[in-house]
Each structure stands twice: as C-alpha cells, then as structure tokens.
Homo-oligomer: 420 residues x 2
C-alpha cells in the first residue's frame, strides 16, 4: 500500500489508507489512546482501542517513526476533522525520549539547548516555519532576478587575501600556504558584470566575528546582486525594490504571516537631509540607531512606508570601492535601506576605472598589492555598475521579529558554537 | 536616451537608438571603419565614416566600454542584418589592450593563461555559454525538486570534524581551535530529512585534493538531494531520473546544444550482473574504467540509452553510512549512474538507526566519537532515507565534452591556483 500524506487524509473518508511519520504525541486515556502522527504536511490523529497496540505504544517514545494503516473516519473534534480507526502500526525507527516536548505550542527550553539539539528542535512546527519562509524568500529573490535578465554565478570561497576588512577573516592552510575564507563575493560579482552585465549569487560568506551578539554569525547566507550600465545608485535601488517585493510575494504564497508592503517607489532621503530632519549636527559622519528609528517613524508618518532609502552616506564611512557623488564628492553614491527604522540592506554604485581604485586605496593609505588580482579587471573595460547584498538570516530575523539571529539559522556558527 | 540591448536593435530600423557595451572588434578599412559592440545579448555593427571619430577609435583598444548613438539601417551583410550609422560615441571606460583577441571564434591561449586572465577570457561567447548552461541546469534542478515537495536548505561549511574521509580536508583556525571545511553536506541533509522529509542544497564543498588532475578541484558546487520514507534506493533513482530530465530540459531552453535524452525509466543492472556481463571475475570489488565503458556500450546497444544505473556496489567500497541489501548484505542499496560509460552521479539508501551506525563504524575499526554530533540525530527517530549528489562542474564537463573541469569553472581552485 502506498503512503499518503497527512494533508491528503481528509479527502479519503471511508477508505483504508497508510500514513507514515513521527509520533508527535501519545495521549493514553483510560478507555482509548490517541496517537498523533506528524509528517511534512501536518498531523493525523489515530484512535487506538486495541489493548495490545496500546501496550506497544506505551513503550514507544515520541519521535519514533511509524507507518500506520487505518480507516479514515470523519470526526469534527479531531484536529483535521478526520481520524484513523482500527489502526495497525509498523515501527520504522524507535526513538529515545526527546529532550523536550515537540507537541507543545512553544518549545520549553533555552535557546542554547534548542541549538544543541537542533536535529530535534527544528522539527517543531514553529521552527520549521522560519526555514520554509527562508526557502521561499530565496526562490522569490532568484525568480525576480531571472526575469530581469540576471545570471546566477558560483564564485570561490577560498581566496588569497582578505578583502572586505583585514580583520574578521578566517585563515586556512591551503596546501601549505595561507588562504582565507571569502567575507563576501564582492569583487567576483563585480568581475562577472564584465561578462554577463547582471549577476547574482546565493552562498555562504564567512566572518570571524569576535563578538558574541544576537546579530552576528561566523557563517551566513548572502544574497548578492550586481548590475552594470547603471546611471547611478538609483538604478540599483530600483532593482532592490523589485527584488524585495518578489521575495515578500514568494513568502506570502507559503505563509499567512502579516507581511510589510513594499511601495511601488520606496521613499528616499539624502544623508545630509536625514541629519537635518532628526536634528543631528551637520558634520555627523553616520546615523545613530536613535536617528534611524526617528527616520523610520518619519517614513511611516510622511509616506506610509515601512521602507526608507537613506542615500549619499559620507565617503569616509563606506568601503574604498564606493563611487563618490560627482556633484558632492564628500558624499557617496550609496544607500542603506531602512526597514522600520533599522538598516536591512546596504548597497551602491562602485568605482569602475582602474585609476580610481589606485587613487581610492592610496587615499586610505592602502597599497594596491593585496588587491591586485581583484582590481585587475578594471584595466580591461568595466561599465558603471553597482549592487547590494541581503543577509538571509537577518532578513528572516526582521520578518519574523525574533530577537536572535540563531533562531532563524539551521545550524548556527559563532564564537563558541561549531556543532552540531 | 535609454540604452537598448543588441538583440532589440533589428526591430528599430529607421530609428535613432543608443546601445552600450564593449568594443568587441575594430575593423579599420581604408574608406570606412567598423566597430562591433558586444553586450550581454549579442553584437551590433557600427559604421564609422567621420574622420575625427575614426581617429578616436584608432586609439581606443578592444574591451573599452562605450555608449553609441546612431540610426539603425538594414544591411544584409551586417552580422544581425542591421547596423548603426552616423554614430556618436561616449567612452565609459578605456581598456588596456586585452591579453588575447576575444573576437576570434576560439581563444588563442593556453588554459593557464585563460585562467590567469579569467576576468577577460570569461567574456568570450564560447566561455560564457558554459556558465549560462550551468545556471540553467541549476534552475532546472531546483524547479524539479520544488515541484516534488523538496525544501531548500543552507547548512554549515565550517565543521568540527572531517566526515567523508579523514584525508583531503582543509583545516581552519576557528577562534583558536581547529575546524574543517565541509567536504559535503551529507549528515546535514540527512538530519534535515527528519525535519522536512525531502531537502536539497546547492552550495560549495571543499576537498584538499593533493593531485593535479583534469577532474579535481579544491572547491566545487555540489547539488545535494536527500529524501525520506523511501522503500529502498530505487525511490532515490526515480527522483534522480526526474531531476536530470528537469536539468536537461532547462538547459535546452537556453541552448541549441545536442542534449542526451533521459529515458522515462533508466535501465539498471546489478553490480554482480555487470561484472558477469563484462567478463570480470565475480570477486572484483569495483568496476574498472574499461568495464564502465563496456557497460555504457551495452546500455546503448541493448536499451538505446546514454544512461545506465549500476546498483548494489559491494559494501566494502561504499562509505560507512550506506544501507546494506537486506537479501545480500555484502552488497549495498546504492547506485552509480553511468553516462556514456563513465560515472556521473553516486547515491543510495543510508542507514537510519543509531545502532546500525555504531555497528557500521565498529566494523570499520572507527570510533563513533568524531561523528557523535552527526549521528546523534539517529537516536531521535529517522525514517528510511537516501539521496545523491551531482557535481555541477563535472556535469557541465560531460555535457559540453570538455577535457578539463577548469574550463567549466569560473575561478577554479586547485593545488596551485588560488587566484584570481
């Protein structure tokens, strides 16, 4: 007999079926026992009256894997409106008693305990949900960009020199010589603009983050985008707007979560105007968290938008590859996207001429040498280009309003955690 | 004026347009000069008669990036049947002369030279093609599995112990203690079967491969699949069949390459029968390349198929997590998929009970200890399951019939190569 999924059971009233899954819960009442079987599509209630089977179930811990044959009977009081009666049970795999109850609405354990037992805690419907949403968000990211003519690329995670910042990089023994784990695909995606004009990559990036915070991971999933032949960063902002809308549309198709609405045009404010708006001194080089919150409230009140672009951050606060504003070179052609008053995505236009890279590095007192194999491409003709990167886990953290990024990471890696 | 793409030019005869791209080729004849401009969608010919512009072009090397405005005129002898006349040219980025000519049908340089200058060589239409096919193949992989109820996952690449084999693993300094780069997501994808039943991952895997061969890379892209509630490896083989068909269908949508046909049911032969068929001794533990070639010819002659499953490889030749054939425990519930007589994909059923893992490791003289955090999940109820992994670059290598895997890898990493 072919197994059917839980979600298909209600359509089979009156028939004999076979389901398979995990024992989500046993309820051993005086006259009857209920077995709740969980599979990837939901729960099915099984009614046990046979004393021998009841005796077996009494010794079979939750999370054991079973096949159950039985007759589907309508019962309004059962979870899905149906239950299986006259069951026979085949045990596929007997479990040890789980470290915490998966059938409770929320898991009664601390986050470290849940992470230590990720193989079990991830099975909880609430924890599963975050990762189904994540998969949908990534699918929406890709489909939006595929339709806009972007090509997916896969670039090296083993690199010869640290790029984003000298610190926070993992060193590796590469056949007897030093190498590093890529902190971002920044230069590779730029290089690939020279090939395909528009590219994206979904992949792991690595940061040897020495601080133990609720927002930092040693490995996270970066959704990287880069596009050529832009006029300036506003073309990048338009692509980010569409990409976010596509990600949220995909999430809404698998979830009834109340999702933010991405406006057709996300309001934007220049950094200098933002400082004035929040009453900060005009020579502040960056926005403080309180400033960002105030801007978020302003976007909500003034534009009815959860999203706000802040453009033109001072050059001094941005990486060396950022493109200056031709009209006001102390400001950059870059942006942050704020979501409800906190930064969600950073991006901008990049330098595209070799001489500009040499000058930018010199201005920061850095030598070109460690960057030579990366900046080489700019000797060979590159169009004006720019891009952005979305950290998948932080995106999910904001969407689900959880307080620790580890809650939306399958097997987080941090200062102290390297297993499971 | 808004830029239009090369492929849109033929529809604009009689109108003034702006194109933008790389100078693919300059042809400076006596009375006229031709500029061939390349963008992501193709080539456009520009006719230059103005002596001042000609003088500019004489000093502007190939691969410089330009915007060109001109009037579209039909000309049967031009590459796309049209050309731009009365052009004005705006130089976006001046290039140095490229290290080799990109306008020739094939690149006249050795593979090491092409790889050293990947940023330029990848722009060649023939080299671009491999990576467009690769992106399409991965899209087909995902869409096939999405439709079959699989969930995409992102798992750690930093792990506490080597898993697939003790050797060939990259060591890393993880906040002062040792860690390793994951050689595969094997145990994570198995663990996630306990959560979603069916999962896939597309991501980098790392092998400290000490041999310099045409098939080995230190990093490659692994397309990993795992599914639960299988009867045996034949259920995995059916999913692989559909996945390959989906990948090839996606490739055919972006290419006119002559592609192999995946039969509705791929023929299968047991390892023991395969040995007999090729006349090898019955106690051979593995198939030699000549045996595989003979089997490939047999599949072609007997079944008209480019693909052949060889099932039931001896346990001794498979990793410790492979599931034995219950009827003949010296053989395994595993398979290789041969494509035209060479292995393309390996997969099979895995052990799903904790006690079986302990016994399998003991039988190989290995301790459970280094695997503890991985095999822990099997204490907590796992269904019968199995899966497979497709190496993207080797898949492309076979599809495009190239002799070196580096030709189908954007920025290959190997024993000697860590840049660009």
């Amino acid at each position: 007999m072919q197994r059917i999924l839980s979600r298909a059971v209600p359509a089979q009233v009156g028939r004999e079926v076979m389901i398979a899954g995990w024992i989500h819960r046993r309820r051993l009442l005086k006259s009857v026992a209920f077995l709740i079987v969980r599979d990837a599509t939901g729960l099915t209630q099984v009614v046990v009256t046979d004393p021998d089977l009841r005796a077996t179930l009494e010794k079979l811990p939750e999370e054991s894997v079973v096949e159950v044959r039985g007759t589907v009977v309508a019962n309004e009081t059962a979870p899905a409106g149906v239950e299986l009666t006259d069951p026979s049970v085949n045990v596929l795999s007997e479990a040890e008693p789980p470290p915490f109850d998966l059938y409770r609405p929320t898991l009664a354990a601390t986050l470290p305990t849940l992470l230590d037992h990720a193989a079990v805690s991830l099975r909880h419907p609430q924890r599963q949900r975050a990762f189904r949403l994540g998969a949908a968000a990534v699918a929406g990211f890709r489909s939006t960009l595929d339709q806009a003519g972007f090509v997916e690329v896969f670039t090296p995670k083993l690199v010869a020199s640290a790029t984003e910042s000298g610190a926070n990089v993992f060193a590796i023994d590469y056949f007897g010589r030093p190498a590093y784990l890529a902190q971002s695909p920044q230069f590779y995606k730029q290089t690939m603009v020279g090939v395909f004009e528009r590219v994206y990559e979904v992949g792991p990036v690595f940061r040897a983050e020495p601080h133990d915070t609720v927002r930092h991971l040693a490995q996270y999933t970066s959704l990287d985008v880069e596009l050529g032949f832009i006029r300036d960063h506003h073309d990048v902002m338009a692509v980010l707007r569409d990409t976010l809308a596509g990600m949220l549309a995909a999430v809404s198709s698998v979830s009834d979560l109340a999702l933010p609405v991405v406006p057709a045009e996300i309001p934007a404010i220049h950094f200098a105007d933002a400082l004035a708006l929040v009453g900060a001194p005009a020579d502040e080089p960056d926005l403080a968290p309180a400033h960002e919150r105030a801007l978020g409230e302003w976007a909500q009140t003034e534009h009815g938008s959860d999203f706000l672009y802040v453009t033109g951050y001072p050059m001094s606060k941005r990486p060396f590859y950022v493109y200056p504003d031709p009209a006001r070179p102390e400001y950059s052609n870059s942006f942050d996207l704020l979501f409800r008053g906190t930064e969600l995505v950073t991006g901008g236009q990049r330098l595209h001429r070799y001489a500009d890279y040499v000058a930018a590095l010199a201005a920061r007192g850095e030598s070109v040498e460690p960057y030579q194999s990366y900046v080489e491409v700019f000797r060979h003709g590159m169009p004006p280009h720019g891009g952005f990167a979305i950290g998948l886990e932080r995106f999910l953290m904001r969407l689900l309003e959880v307080s620790n990024v580890r809650e939306v990471t399958l097997f987080p890696r941090d200062l102290t955690r390297l297993t499971p």
